[in-house]
Subunit: 410 residues, 2 copies
């Protein structure tokens, strides 16, 4: 046994995991956690929502709360999901460029350098006037990407893919690339796009490629409107990770409508299952198929609660949670042996941002210390029998609950 | 971003911290935590105290409890405070000698060796009969220090400072000093003072200096009574630390009446603000000045609860807590954006000692999950929405609550 591994609880799970046919379903309501809201008489959206199915389930479950990354740390979606999948984001750093490329299904090779592209608008002076080019349509984005795809740079291979709206991504393929580069996005309007700067000598050659790409892209786009320039962010080298199959012996599948979450799931080796219809009902059907097809771990992702939180719209967040509640019977009927319902992080409506606050979680199925909670809410989760855990500890509890972890020591 | 730093939650805060004008106030009621006391009908002093202001605040706050260093570990004041300031005492060891010297405002240089002095009484045989020399007055201590200051030792520079009562401290300044030395304090009466022994060859020269100093001090004091000898403890080399400004971008100030706490605060780069009057009212005024002067982090320290706990006097501890309660409105009026009230450790009256028990904490201001607690007490803190944290995690929560931490990852 690897002594380094032993010092780390998450590696211990790898050592003790064994394969069984039992099925785990992890349902993530994005941005679920919230804070008390005056307009809701001091309740959170989860507390104010009518959730008969979740509440009935809570009585048969163990509740608790998780801290996504560390106390006080507000996570992005990438680190927050990786933690739920059992990959400590403090050990496994991953850049947004890689997540974007994986999210659109691009087949990254080890050593590829990926970055996010934002189409933007600059004035005659070259100053950025809109960092999102008026949020052009995905169709326009696709057309512009086609034009950029004609760019050639000696010494590397370029791949450019549309993502959504004004967002695209680029992959530089070649030998000896580095991701020690600064963004070209100035982060604010009223400034000019920046030059990519190498963080060390080994990155100078890559920085030159990136500057050449930026300059050529500017020439391709200069007559366009409103998208007449690009900004690059989140440079990240791709190095393949150990998969959930390698680590936990799980055949894992992801059901998600948004590319970003598919990307994170791909990174840890999940198969992406595209729902036949682009809504929560479609996702529920995809979950049923995933479980009946023999996947032993299914991740499903429900986005609208987070979007509502970021909009500060607590009624929309309530509606998103209530919509999720309606499919809970279908999720149970799909037959997982263990079902966990939680969020990836909190997105309080009052903040309109992700936050660091703990996230309620519910564990149903397998041997659980039930009977401690009557409803599913932030407050009831506080006194739930699972207590407060780090998100990265969840996978061990799911594996144990599903009977997939051996005893440690004699 | 430093990859090593990433593996460590407390370093993550350093990477994500940014400067804002928002103000954090950390009020420490020393030794706050306690255990149920029969004479108080099974309540703790905090539960038995009349604390209308703290209780009203609790309803608008998030409560929780912190474990000062690690489960079961009883901390000294130094490590306990360092943890609250975001410096993991398990990584940042600091000797008591350094804390003493900083506490009396001595300007330590890197490489200085500091130690604590206790004046003691020895009999004609040289055996220690009182390790505190009858707790001589600070005035007497000062006179004796003046006499000791005449001692000269070839090769080093000596600085001796009175602290309080029978306590003083000494700083050896010179090249190549080591703190790998044993104490000369035998720890018990009925024994003779020990010789300082080097822990390794590199410390032999330093040990010789210390033995010479002890011998010369004994000769200076031999005709005195009751303080006719010294005992040396807590040898510690001074090496400057990263300041709270460096790590968190905080302009930090300390309001404390006792030298020890000023010393710990100085060690992490806080400016020490001396209250204009030597009591809690004076401290409250100093806090107001600190905040209005633009300090973005103010630490204030209230000592009497700990002293009462060490005396086993639960009525005095109740009085100390009630006295603190009266200044809570002034602290709020001083205008911190985030206010945390907690203790550095527990000092249960029944034990008359510091202890390892978790310490209640209250977080007010910024986005908090409020509405979970009705009073401020050990019991209500247990079910507070912050849950149980390690003390060293508090700084991240304070920084996040004050809007001084960036999101981690995309």
């Amino acid at each position: 046994m690897n002594p380094e591994g032993m010092a780390n609880g998450s590696r211990l799970v790898d050592d003790l995991a064994f394969r069984t046919e039992s099925k785990i379903l992890l349902a993530v309501i994005d941005g679920l956690g919230d804070l008390p809201i005056d307009d809701l008489d001091g309740r959170t959206p989860l507390e104010a929502a009518a959730t008969p199915n979740l509440d009935a389930l809570a009585r048969l479950s163990s509740l608790g709360q998780h801290v996504p990354v560390a106390r006080g740390i507000t996570p992005g979606s990438g680190p927050a999901h990786l933690a739920l999948f059992g990959y400590d984001p403090l050990e496994h750093c991953v850049g947004r460029g890689v997540l974007s490329a994986l999210g659109v299904g691009f087949d990254l090779h080890p050593g590829d350098l990926a970055a996010r592209i934002n189409f933007c608008t600059v004035d005659g002076d070259g100053t950025v006037t809109d960092r999102r080019a008026g949020r052009i349509s995905t169709e326009t984005c696709r057309e512009l990407v086609d034009e950029l795809s004609g760019i050639e740079i000696d010494g590397i291979e370029l791949h450019i893919m549309p993502v959504r709206d004004h967002r695209a991504c680029v992959v530089f393929r070649g030998d000896g690339l580095s991701d020690s580069l600064t963004d070209t996005d100035p982060g604010l309007v009223g400034r000019k796009p920046l030059q990519a700067v190498a963080g060390n000598q080994g990155a100078e050659r890559t920085a030159a490629f990136v500057r050449e790409f930026s300059a050529k892209a500017a020439r391709v786009l200069e007559e366009k409107s409103p998208a007449n320039q690009i900004l690059l962010r989140g440079f990240a080298l791709y190095c393949p990770w150990q998969t959930m199959e390698d680590r936990f012996g799980l055949r894992a599948a992801a059901v998600a409508l948004y590319p970003m979450y598919r990307g994170v799931a791909s990174l840890v080796g999940m198969d992406v299952i595209a729902p036949s219809q682009d809504d929560l009902q479609g996702e529920a059907i995809a979950v049923r198929n995933s479980i009946s097809d023999g996947y032993t771990f299914t991740f499903m992702h429900h986005k609208p609660a987070d979007s509502a939180g970021e909009d500060g719209d607590c009624r929309a967040k309530i509606a998103a949670i209530e919509e999720f509640d309606t499919i809970v019977p279908a999720l149970i009927k799909a037959g997982p042996d263990v079902l966990c319902i939680t969020g990836d992080h909190s997105t309080p409506c009052s903040m309109k941002l992700h936050s660091w606050h703990p996230v309620p979680l519910l564990l149903y199925g397998g041997p659980q210390r039930t009977g401690c909670s009557a409803v599913f809410s932030e407050r009831s989760a506080l006194s739930g029998s699972t207590g407060t855990i780090r998100a990265v500890e969840l996978m061990a509890i799911l594996m144990a609950s599903a009977g997939k972890l051996a005893k440690y020591g004699a």
